[in-house]
Amino acid sequence: MFRYYFEDFRPGWTFEQGERTLTAEDIVRFAREWDPQRYHVDEEQARRSPFGGLIASGWQTACVAMRLMCDGYLNASACVGSPGIEEIVFRAPVRPGDTLRFRSTATEARPSKTKPNRGTVVFNWEVLNQRGEVVLSMIGTQLFLRRGAGDPGA
C-alpha cells in the first residue's frame, strides 16, 4: 500500500531534494496571511530593518520543508503524524530569489512499546539555499506504521 514503512527509516537514511524558489510575491503573500511583520510584508520598511531587506517568515521556510518532504517521500510513506519538533533554528535569512533544497536524515528509530503496529523516527531536517548554506534546521519526530501492520486505522 505504501512504499516506505517504519523499517525503511534506519539511522543514517538520508534524502535530499529541492527545489523551490521563493519570489518576493511568495514571501509577501505568505506573510500577509500568517506573519505580517514589517520585514516580511513591506520592502521599504524591511530595508530599514536589521535584515536590510525583505526576508521570508521562518514559518514559511518550515512549510517549504514540509511540502518538499511530502512531495519527496512522505506521501509515499505510512506516516501517521508527528508528536512534535524538538527544536527549530532559523539560521540565516531567506530572501527573494533564494532557491531552497530540503535534506532529511534519520538519526534514531524505535518501535513503539505500547502500539506494536508502529514506531517513532527522529530526523534532522535541513533547508539549504543555493549557496549550500543551511537556513533552517529542525529535529523532528514522526510516527510510521510497521511493514505488514495492516489497516492504518487499527
Binding site: D35, Q37, W59, G84, I85, V89
Partner: protein
C-alpha cells in the same frame, strides 16, 4: 512604524489570552493543499481510515494560526528583531473542523543581550486550547526585541 512594546515590556510572568478562529474544513484543506498534502489533512474519506478517524489540521497550520494571533494581539506593535528559533513544539491533540481555538502566551524568561546592548531575547510559551479547554499544542519560542530608547 513606531513600536509601543519593547524588551522591557516582556517581563517574566506576563501573559496574553487571545481568542482565535473556528477552524473550518475549507481552511484545513486549503492550507494542507499548499504546504502539507498528507491524506489525513486533505481527504475526509481517506482520513476516516487513518488513526485520527477523520480530517485534522496540519500542525504547521496550527502553528501558523498562533503566529497570526500573536502578530495581531501584540507583536506588530513591538520592536521585534526576529527570532533565532523555537523549542519543544508539541502537537498534543488533533485540531478538527469546527474547533474553536484560544491561545495563551506567557513570558518565561527575558535576557538582555551581552554583546548587543540595544536588544534582548525573550522566551515565550505558547499554549493553544480548543473549545473544550483541551491543550492541543504548545511550544516555546525565542524572540529578539529592541530595548526601550533611553
Amino acid at each position: 512604524m513606531t513600536a509601543t512594546l519593547h524588551f522591557e515590556d516582556f517581563a517574566p510572568g506576563r501573559t496574553w489570552e487571545i481568542d482565535g478562529p473556528v477552524v473550518t474544513r475549507e481552511a484545513i484543506v486549503e492550507f494542507a493543499t499548499r504546504f502539507d498534502p498528507q491524506y489525513f489533512h486533505l481527504d475526509e474519506r481517506a482520513a476516516a481510515h487513518s488513526p485520527f478517524g477523520g480530517l485534522i489540521a496540519s500542525g504547521w497550520h496550527t502553528v501558523s494560526i498562533c503566529m497570526r494571533l500573536i502578530c495581531d494581539a501584540y507583536l506588530l506593535q513591538a520592536a521585534s528583531l526576529g527570532s533565532p528559533g523555537v523549542d519543544e513544539v508539541r502537537w498534543l491533540k488533533p485540531v478538527r473542523p469546527g474547533d474553536r481555538l484560544r491561545l495563551r502566551t506567557t513570558v518565561l524568561d527575558a535576557k538582555p543581550s551581552r554583546s548587543r546592548p540595544d536588544r534582548g531575547t525573550v522566551l515565550h510559551r505558547w499554549e493553544l486550547f480548543n473549545q473544550r479547554d483541551e491543550l492541543v499544542m504548545q511550544m516555546q519560542g525565542y524572540g529578539m526585541f529592541a530595548r526601550r530608547p533611553a
